[in-house]
Symmetry: C2
Subunit: 223 residues, 2 copies
DNA sequence: GATGAATGTCTTGCATACAAGAATGTTGAC
DNA sequence: GTCAACATTCTTGTATGCAAGACATTCATC
């Protein structure tokens, strides 16, 4: 049950493309997605486009009103904060479980991932750091030993990706983030479930907070 | 963004019906869902049936293999344990947040719901207790003050419904469950986030454990 | 007798056609 | 000039038709 099984059908292609456009902010909240326009644009009939809409609707990216169409649904600041809060809790749960189940081998993997992140920070390569960061978190999910939790975490991680990406650009965040990663690994190494959960919760919550500030400043600037 | 917006389209009707059949265990894991058969059965064409399949696939109830069809996907014992574990963590998160945000009014509501549960227990009405139980938990989700978390909790609660229902039938579970509810309310009343989270986590985990035993005994009986 | 290729059937994926509901514009009355 | 009722147009929801991939059966070969 992969969250998004990359199948070779047209509907999947269109769904993936639209998802990308929504993530990239090409569409604003409330925009209507025209079936025929999109169908023409991708050279397919309305059927696969409609299937794509349904998938996006289930992911919460679009809202379908019966007999009225599909509308883009961008999360507002409040909902984003909420989503980061849930992400923090899910990751905390993963860390808690991982603390009791993690192997030495997996610990080495996490340390190795952090070393690579360190390289990226030193080279000021934000994009590469971002990738390594995601791998680190995914590795923690995997170590929870709970496949369902892992998939839920990956799902939300994916959904928050475009927003996390923005806030990582903030000054000094990279190095700080890396330090937090080390604290998480240390807690896992100690087998301290509570400490691991608290560490990763704080780590992710910081992202939400930073994002909150970012939004607030943008809003102020707009006024 | 209701998890299942009851819309008046054929696809929704078929999706709801199939979901019910899957939940009720009419279909076993791996069963193939025949488009044409189901279409005839519900007096519609293949199109809405296909749309229904997609929706069920997104919910994880069926698995779609390209060019091969839709197959029912019932969670096995391991995945169920995993799902209960995640449910416990999500509810713990909701309780943690609720502890800091809950109002006196909401506390009264929870106490009232528990009183009604008490009535149900006294009348040995398992079904009614079950309903009141769900309302109690839903009220805790709502008090988290996090709409996204609330929806995620409701989604998983819904998915686990058929399995929870079974284990509540176990001897003595009703009264025990009610006592745990009281402990949760007490912790919330104290504003003790950790205690509230631990209490509800234990409460839900017990359900998973009980379920585990149930499965194990069934398996033993089958051998 | 077993294995593999070829063919035939069945099922899905997509395109197109049609019908019904929603949105829009027009006309008429006040 | 404004509002409302009606008609028109547009869009969505559903049905059907067609093509390509998957499965099964059969036949040939080792």
């Amino acid at each position: 049950m992969e969250p998004t099984a990359p199948q070779d059908t047209q509907a999947d292609r269109v769904a993936a493309a639209l998802e990308g456009l929504i993530f990239d902010g090409v569409f604003s909240d409330g925009d209507r997605l025209d079936e025929v326009r999109i169908a023409e644009q991708y050279g397919v009939s309305r059927t696969p486009v409609r299937e794509a809409f349904q998938r996006l609707a289930q992911s919460g990216l679009v809202r379908q009103l019966p007999r009225r169409g599909a509308f883009v649904r961008q999360p507002g600041p409040i909902e984003l904060i909420e989503m980061f809060e849930v992400m923090a809790e899910l990751e905390a749960a993963a860390a808690r479980l991982a603390a009791g189940r993690i192997t030495d081998e997996a610990l080495d993997l996490l340390k190795d991932l952090n070393r690579r992140s360190d390289d990226a920070v030193r080279e000021r390569d934000a994009d590469r750091y971002y990738d390594e960061n995601e791998r680190f978190h995914a590795a923690v999910y995997a170590q929870s030993g709970n496949g369902f939790l892992e998939r839920e975490c990956l799902r939300l991680q994916r959904r928050l990706r475009p927003f996390r990406r923005r806030q990582l650009r903030l000054r000094g965040r990279l190095r700080q983030s890396l330090g937090e990663h080390r604290a998480i690994v240390a807690a896992l190494e100690d087998g301290d479930a509570t400490a691991a959960a608290d560490a990763i919760r704080a780590h992710v919550t910081v992202q939400g907070e930073k994002f909150h500030h970012l939004i607030a400043s943008l809003r102020q600037a707009a006024e």
